[in-house]
C-alpha cells in the first residue's frame, strides 16, 4: 500500500497533447477514479503509470520513490484490464500464480496464496478450469485475483466492468469496492461511467483533452462542479444564456431575475446551469414562487420511463432544457409544441463563464 504522487506529467503523440501537466496526489489506501469521455487521456495516464507508455516529462512516485524510469515489469503496480487479458492457454490457478512465479515465491506459499485469493473473489471452485469455461464476470474476477495476489503497491483498473452487462456491473462494482477496502490497497480506477465513478470513489478526477478539470469527492464533483465541462459531463446540466442588467443577471429567455449580485466582469458572457432533477415542469404559464425562477418553454418531447419522466423543452431563444421529475399525467398527455413552464429554485442554479471549460463563479 503506497501513496501516489504524480507531478508535471506530460505526454505527446506527435503534435497532439495526450496529457498536459498532470499533478495528482493520492493518499495511501484511497480509491481514486479517473473519469472522462473517450480520448480524454484517462487511459493514457493509467498506462503511463503502469509503464506501457513513456512520458515526455514529469515524475511518478510511489511512497516518494520515483518509478517513471523503471521498465513496466519492475514497477510493482497491479493492473486489471478492460478485456480481462486472462491467458487463455493456462488454467485459472496458473493464471493467478503467474506473477508469484515471476517473483520466485516458494511453492507452498504460492499454493496457499493462490487458494486464499481465489476464495476472496469467490472462485475457489473454479481453480482448475480453463479460462474459456468461465463467464465474463468470472474472468474479470480472475483478473482481479491475479493482480492483487502479488500484493502490488498500487492497483490500476482500466474500465474493468465495461464489457459486462448492466446488472452484473452493479453487483461486481460493490464487490470490487469491498475487496479494495478490506485490503486497503491504493487504487486508481478508469471509467467513463459517471454513476460508477460517483458510487465507488473516495476521489473523482474528471479529465478532458489531457487536462485535469477537477479532482474532488463525489459529492463535490456533482454539486459543486468547478467548470462548465464537469457540470456537463457529470451532472447532465442544461445551460441557459444570461443577460447582464446593470448589476443583476437575468435569463435571456423570459427575462427572469436569477441573481442580485454582480458576477464576473462587465461585458463577459455568462451561462446559468441547471441539473435535470431540480427542474419542475408544469403545463401552461406558471407564476413563480418567491425563491423560484419560472422559464417559459415549448415542449419538445416527453418520455415516460417508469420511475420518472424525462422532459425536453425548448426555450424561446432555442436552448434545450432537460428535466427528470416524478411522472405527471398532465404533462405526459401534452402534445409536442405545447407551452410549459420549467420552475427551479434560485439556490439550485450555478453560474459559469460561457466556454467549454468555463470557470464556475461563486
Amino acid at each position: 500500500m503506497a501513496s501516489v504522487d504524480i507531478t508535471g506529467l506530460r505526454k505527446l503523440y506527435g503534435d497532439v497533447v495526450a496529457l498536459s501537466d498532470i499533478n495528482i496526489s493520492i493518499p495511501s489506501g484511497a480509491f481514486y477514479t479517473l473519469l472522462g469521455p473517450s480520448g480524454c487521456g484517462k487511459t493514457t495516464l493509467l498506462r503511463t503509470i503502469a509503464g506501457f507508455h513513456d512520458q515526455d516529462a514529469g515524475s511518478i512516485s510511489l511512497d516518494g520513490n520515483p518509478i517513471e524510469t523503471l521498465p513496466a515489469h519492475r514497477r510493482d503496480v497491479g493492473m486489471v484490464f478492460q478485456d480481462y487479458a486472462i491467458f487463455p492457454h493456462i488454467s485459472v490457478r496458473e493464471n493467478v500464480a503467474f506473477g508469484l512465479k515471476q517473483k520466485k515465491v516458494p511453492r507452498a506459499e504460492m499454493d496457499r496464496r493462490v487458494t486464499e485469493v481465489l476464495d476472496v473473489v469467490q472462485l475457489g471452485a473454479f481453480a482448475d478450469r480453463m479460462p474459456h469455461e468461465l463467464s465474463g464476470g468470472q474472468q474479470q474476477r480472475v483478473g482481479l485475483a491475479r493482480a492483487i495476489v502479488v500484493r502490488p503497491k498500487v492497483l490500476l483498473m482500466d474500465e474493468p466492468l465495461s464489457n459486462l452487462d448492466a446488472r452484473l456491473r452493479v453487483d461486481l462494482r460493490a464487490e470490487l469496492r469491498r475487496i479494495q477496502k478490506d485490503l486497503g490497497i491504493t487504487t486508481i480506477y478508469v471509467t467513463h461511467d459517471q454513476e460508477e465513478a460517483l458510487a465507488m470513489s473516495d476521489t473523482v478526477c474528471v479529465m478532458h483533452q489531457g487536462v485535469i478539470q477537477q479532482a474532488a469527492s463525489p459529492l463535490d464533483i456533482y454539486l459543486m462542479p468547478a467548470n462548465r465541462f464537469v457540470a456537463t459531463f457529470v451532472g447532465a446540466n442544461s445551460f441557459l444564456a444570461l443577460t447582464r442588467d446593470t448589476d443583476q443577471l437575468r435569463l435571456t429567455s423570459g427575462g427572469a431575475l436569477v441573481s442580485h449580485k454582480a458576477l464576473g466582469e462587465q461585458g463577459e458572457t455568462l451561462v446559468c446551469a441547471v441539473r435535470p432533477e431540480v427542474l419542475r415542469v408544469a403545463p401552461g404559464e406558471v407564476q413563480a414562487a418567491e425563491d423560484e425562477v419560472s422559464i417559459p418553454a415549448k415542449l419538445s418531447n416527453v418520455s415516460f420511463i417508469g420511475r420518472e419522466m424525462e422532459v425536453l423543452a425548448r426555450t424561446d431563444s432555442g436552448e434545450v432544457v432537460k428535466s427528470l421529475a416524478r411522472p405527471d399525467p398532465a404533462v405526459i398527455a401534452l402534445d409536442p409544441g405545447s407551452a410549459v413552464s420549467m420552475c427551479v429554485r434560485r439556490d439550485d442554479l450555478a453560474f459559469f463563464e460561457d466556454s467549454e471549460t468555463g470557470r464556475r463563479l461563486a
Binding site: A50, G51, F52, D54, D56, P71, A72, H73, R74, D76, V77, G78, M79, F81, Q82, D83, Y84, A85, I86, F87, P88, H89, F98, G99, Q102, K103, G143, R146, A147, V150
Partner: protein, 551 residues
C-alpha cells in the same frame, strides 16, 4: 537511454538485429545487382551501355516480349479457369467441394518444374499422348514453345485466383445481391454489375501473384522453351557464360525482371486504392442447387480443371514405378528408378532436407520475433521491416541468387561455402511465408495479454515466450511448414549457387530431365511430392482457415 523519446528495451535490440540481417541478406545483394548493372564488364567503369544493349539488341528485346507474352497469357488463362471455378464452388452445391480445393492446394504447392516435364512425358515429341494419336494417324502439336509454357502456367497458377476469389465470394454480403435483384437485375447482370466488382480486389491480387510468379519462373521455360527464351532463362545463361568475369548482362536483365514485377504490383495497388468495400458479414451468401445439364456441366468443369492440373503430378508418380533399363522405359512396372535414385542421388536428398530444415529453423525463430515487431511496435523501423517482407516475393530466385553470389563470393563473407549460401538464400526468400502466417496469428491476440504478463513482473522476453509464443504457435508452425515446402522445392536460385557437393533434389531432377533420365527424375519428384503432401496434411490439421494458409 532513449532514442527519439523511446526507452530502449529488449524489442529495440530485436528490431536492430532483424534490420541488420535484412540489410545484409536482402538489401545489399539487391543493391549489388543494381550497381553491377551500371558497370562495364571489360573496363569496370560506370556505364549505361548494358541497358542500351538490352533495349536495342533483338535477342534481349525478344526475351522481354516473350516474358510479357507468356506472363500475361498465363495470367489470363489462370483467371479464366480460376474465376468460374471460384464462383461455382462458392455459390452452388457441389459434390466433392473439399476434394476440389484440396487438389487445387496440392497443385499450388507442388514443385513448379514437375509440371513442365510431366507435360513433356505426355505431349512431348515422344510423349505417350503424342504417340497414341500418332498411331491413330493424327498429328497433334507438341508441348514445346510459348503455347506449352502458357498451358503450364495456366494450370499451375490458377489455384491462386481460384482460392482468393472463392474466399472473397464467400464473404460478400448477400444483401448487396438481393438488393440488385430487387432492383430488377437478371442473375447474369447481377453477377457482372455487383458480385464481380465486389470481389475484384481479390481477383486482381490473385492475378498479380500469377503474373509475378510467371515472370520469375525459370523451370518451365528452361524445360519447355526449346529456343523460346524468357528473361529468367536469359539471365541464367548470361550468368553462366559470364562466369569468371563480371555478370553485368545477367544483372541488367535481372533488374528488368524486378522492374516488371514492381510495376505490376504498383499498378494493382493504384487500381485498388480507390476501392474500399467494407462489408459487414450480416447476411452470408446461400448456396444454390443446380439441376439437369447445368449441374452436370458445372461438375465436369470443376472436377475436370483440378484433375487436369493435378495430372502432371500423377503422371510423375506413375512414371516413377515404371520398369526402366538405364534411361529407357522397357514396359511393365518396377522399382529400378528408386534403386537408381539411392545409388546416384542420396546426397541430393540429404542436402535438400538439410538445407531446407536449417533454413526453416532460422525462419521459425525470425518469424516469431519479426511478427511481434511488425504487429506490436509502431516504430518506423517496424514499418520498414514490414515493407521489406514484401521484397522477396518480387525478386525472382535467379536474381536473388546472382545478388548473393556477387555479394558474398567476395568481401567479408567470402569464406562461406555453397551450403551456407543456399541455406541463407532459402532463408531470406522464404522468410515472408513464415512471417505472414505468424503475423496474422498475432494480430488476433490482444496486446493486453503481453501487458498483463509484464505487469505481473515478467521481463519482455519472458512475457513473449510464456504468453505470446504459445498463443501464436499454430500460425508459426503453419508458416514454417509453408516455408519448408517452398524451400525444399527451390530450383532457380539453387542452380546459380550449387556446386558438386551441394546438389539438391530439384537440381538433380532438372539435370536428369535435361539428360532425358525421366525415370530418375520421376522417382526424385515423387519423394518431393510426398514430403510436400505430408506438410499440406499437417497444415490442414493445424490451420483454422485451411485454404488461406497457402496463399
Amino acid at each position: 537511454m532513449t532514442i527519439a523519446g523511446r526507452r530502449l528495451d529488449f524489442w529495440t535490440g530485436v528490431t536492430g538485429v532483424v534490420l541488420a540481417v535484412l540489410v545484409v541478406l536482402l538489401m545489399i545483394p539487391i543493391f549489388r545487382v543494381m550497381v553491377l548493372s551500371f558497370v562495364d564488364a571489360d573496363t569496370g567503369n560506370w556505364t549505361l551501355g548494358n541497358y542500351v544493349e538490352v533495349f536495342t539488341r533483338n535477342f534481349y528485346l525478344r526475351g522481354l516480349k516473350n516474358t510479357l507474352f507468356v506472363g500475361l497469357l498465363g495470367t489470363i488463362g489462370a483467371s479464366l479457369v480460376g474465376i468460374p471455378l471460384a464462383f461455382f464452388t462458392a455459390r452452388f452445391h457441389l459434390w466433392g467441394r473439399t476434394w476440389i480445393s484440396t487438389l487445387a492446394i496440392l497443385v499450388l504447392v507442388a514443385p513448379p518444374f514437375i509440371g513442365a516435364y510431366a507435360w513433356i512425358m505426355m505431349l512431348g515429341s515422344n510423349g505417350f499422348v503424342t504417340n497414341f494419336f500418332e498411331r491413330l494417324g493424327i498429328e497433334i502439336p507438341t508441348i514445346y514453345g510459348a503455347h506449352g509454357i502458357i498451358l503450364v502456367f495456366t494450370l499451375k497458377f490458377f489455384p491462386f485466383v481460384f482460392l482468393m476469389t472463392q474466399t472473397a465470394l464467400m464473404a460478400v454480403n448477400k444483401s448487396f445481391e438481393d438488393a440488385a435483384e430487387n432492383l430488377g437485375c437478371t442473375p447474369w447482370q447481377r453477377f457482372v454489375k455487383i458480385t464481380l466488382p465486389l470481389v475484384f480486389p481479390a481477383i486482381s491480387t490473385g492475378a498479380i501473384i500469377c503474373f509475378v510468379l510467371s515472370i520469375a519462373d525459370f523451370g518451365t521455360p528452361a524445360i519447355l522453351g526449346r529456343g523460346f527464351r524468357t528473361l529468367s532463362t536469359i539471365a541464367f545463361t548470361a550468368y553462366r557464360s559470364e562466369l569468371g568475369g563480371l555478370p553485368t548482362m545477367a544483372v541488367t536483365v535481372s533488374m528488368i525482371m524486378i522492374a516488371i514485377s514492381m510495376l505490376a504490383l504498383l499498378a494493382q495497388r493504384r487500381i485498388l486504392a480507390r476501392r474500399r468495400y467494407a462489408s459487414g458479414l450480416t447476411n452470408l451468401p446461400v448456396k444454390m442447387h443446380l439441376t439437369g445439364w447445368q449441374n452436370i456441366a458445372v461438375h465436369l468443369f470443376c472436377h475436370g480443371a483440378v484433375l487436369i492440373a493435378m495430372l502432371p503430378n500423377l503422371v510423375v508418380v506413375y512414371t516413377s514405378f515404371l520398369k526402366t533399363n538405364g534411361p529407357v522405359f522397357v514396359g511393365g512396372f518396377g522399382m529400378e528408378s528408386y534403386a537408381r535414385m539411392w545409388r546416384q542421388a542420396p546426397e541430393a536428398i540429404g542436402n535438400s532436407f538439410l538445407f531446407a530444415l536449417a533454413a526453416v529453423a532460422l525462419i521459425t525463430i525470425f518469424s516469431a520475433f519479426i511478427s511481434y515487431v511488425i504487429v506490436r511496435r509502431e516504430t518506423r523501423a517496424a514499418g520498414a521491416i514490414d515493407f521489406l517482407m514484401m521484397v522477396p516475393y518480387l525478386v525472382p530466385g535467379v536474381v536473388m541468387a546472382i545478388g548473393f553470389v556477387t555479394t558474398f563470393r567476395t568481401g567479408f563473407l567470402s569464406g562461406m561455402g555453397a551450403a551456407w549460401l543456399l541455406i541463407l538464400l532459402y532463408f531470406i526468400r522464404r522468410l515472408p511465408y513464415g512471417v505472414r502466417s505468424t503475423t496474422s496469428s498475432l494480430r488476433q491476440i490482444k496486446p493486453s495479454m503481453e501487458e498483463a504478463a509484464i505487469n505481473l513482473g515478467a521481463p519482455p522476453l519472458t512475457a513473449f515466450l510464456k504468453v505470446t509464443l504459445p498463443l501464436i504457435l499454430p500460425g508459426l508452425i503453419v508458416g514454417s511448414l509453408m516455408s519448408f515446402i517452398t524451400a525444399i522445392n527451390e530450383l532457380s536460385g539453387t542452380l546459380i549457387i550449387y556446386d558438386s557437393g551441394t546438389l539438391t533434389m530439384p537440381v538433380s531432377i532438372y539435370l536428369a530431365v535435361l539428360d532425358g533420365e525421366f525415370g530418375l527424375a520421376a522417382a526424385l519428384s515423387t519423394v518431393l511430392l510426398l514430403c510436400t503432401g505430408a506438410c499440406v496434411f499437417a497444415v490442414f490439421r493445424l490451420a483454422e482457415k485451411r485454404e488461406s494458409s497457402f496463399l
